[in-house]
């Protein structure tokens, strides 16, 4: 999708989470890095309209995140930091089915869509399991399956590997690499975004750098050191 930030700003009362930002994005893989509280998360939530800009506007392929909020949400998926909290039904299969069900899919078509997405992420054997029995990596894959099954055009990841060990990080990284969808990945896990064509560095609520992965990481290390 073609994402346009037009002087979009986010404030909570006096506190500025993101200073007015203007930029355009259309790359298939976009990384977002920065310190805690630098504005990364605000940026991601502005993209899919989970938060509304205090001033300015954000559009995705021309759809405004405020005026066309429903269409924007339908076209995007969001993977949160704590995968346990985005799985909201007791059985993994039911949870994955919930999104497409809310969009009107039912019966055989629904079952097939759920099976297909579980096969795709190699989690078919988790269908009848309960979330508290799964590892962090399995949970994150289940959460990703639940998003991909609704066929969004763009998927946002908010620190998807934050709470995972090395093995599970690798698992999630491979899953992200294999997506045909456009992806915006916020991460402290620099390896995850180092190969991306475009990486944004946020610092104190402003865009501090915008360029390719290697350069962005070098810049981030500089700003973080001082």
């Amino acid at each position: 999708m073609h994402i346009i930030f037009d002087k979009a700003e986010l404030r909570f009362g006096e506190r500025v989470a993101l200073h007015p930002l203007s930029l355009q994005l259309s790359e298939p893989r976009i990384g977002v890095i920065g310190l805690n509280g630098s504005g990364k998360t605000s940026f991601a939530r502005l993209v899919n309209g989970l938060v509304k800009p205090t001033s300015g506007r954000v559009t995705l392929d021309g759809m405004d995140t405020v005026a066309d909020a429903k269409a924007v949400l339908a076209a995007t998926g969001f993977i949160f930091q704590n995968p346990a909290n985005q799985i909201i039904l007791p059985l993994i299969r039911d949870d994955i089915a919930m999104g497409p069900k809310a969009r009107g899919l039912k019966g055989k078509a629904l079952d097939e869509a759920v099976e297909a997405v579980m096969d795709r992420f190699a989690i078919a054997e988790l269908a009848e399991r309960r979330p508290h029995e799964l590892s962090g990596g399995q949970l994150q894959l289940a959460a990703l399956a639940a998003v991909v099954v609704t066929e969004p055009k763009l998927i946002l990841f908010d620190e998807p590997t934050n709470q995972l060990d090395l093995k599970n990080r690798a698992l999630v990284r491979r899953a992200i690499d294999g997506l045909e969808q456009q992806a915006i990945v916020i991460s402290h896990d620099l390896d995850l975004v180092s190969g991306f064509g475009r990486v944004l560095v946020f610092h104190e609520g402003r865009l501090a750098f915008d360029g390719d992965g290697a350069e962005a990481i070098a810049r981030y290390r500089e700003t973080a050191a001082c």
């Binding site: 998926g77 930091q81 039904l89 007791p90 809310a102």
Partner: protein, 201 residues
């Protein structure tokens, strides 16, 4: 952890619709209050107890399930012998037992999924009135069942933390942390539900 009280089977109660069972329970329950003849109530009890015991639960499990309520009924039976009369105590006890076995039979022959479907269907008129979304009911039950094991785990962790610090477990020291740490998850859970468009777009 939370296993349903449903029992597999093919009895006519298993095959009856949930609505018919609930309506029948209500009507029979109320009708029994109009009956004061101990012989008739004894007959009703015989019928419902037979119904319940023939569902395939096994006598031990069948009584274990009802133990708390049976104790309560026995207690009030004894009280009534003293404060009313043995005759009145007998009629009220027989009536309560008859209702108890009938209610337990409905519970044992209805799956949770069937119950939830029926409740969701019954909520549709409320949705038409704009009071709520019927689908929210199913979502809310799902959320409760989803998060019970997580909260139980959180309780175990708090218990361990108490033990590690040599503190005895008291409700006053554990309730606050347990409730705060659980409710703090509400924001991210709600955000995920909204982002996934689950409450209908």
């Amino acid at each position: 952890m939370l296993t349903s009280l449903y029992v597999e089977g093919t009895s006519f109660l298993h095959r009856m619709s949930v609505r018919a069972k609930l309506a029948g329970l209500m009507i029979i329950g109320l009708a029994l209050f109009l009956v004061a003849n101990p012989v008739a109530l004894g007959f009703a009890l015989l019928v419902t107890a037979t119904l319940y015991l023939r569902l395939g639960l096994g006598v031990g499990e069948a009584f274990r399930r009802l133990r708390p309520v049976l104790i309560t009924i026995a207690f009030f039976g004894l009280v009534n012998v003293v404060v009313l009369s043995p005759h009145e105590a007998l009629t009220s006890t027989l009536r309560l037992l008859a209702i108890l076995f009938l209610a337990a039979s409905v519970t044992a022959t209805t799956t949770i999924a069937d119950f939830i479907d029926t409740i969701t269907a019954l909520l549709v008129p409320l949705e038409r009135l704009g009071l709520m979304k019927a689908a929210d009911g199913g979502l809310a039950f799902g959320l409760v069942l989803r998060f019970v094991p997580d909260i139980a785990l959180r309780y175990a962790v708090l218990k361990e933390a108490h033990a590690a610090r040599g503190l005895t477990l008291k409700p006053q020291t554990i309730l606050g942390p347990l409730i705060i740490s659980t409710l703090k998850e509400a924001d991210s859970i709600a955000e995920a539900i909204d982002a996934r468009g689950i409450r209908g777009q």
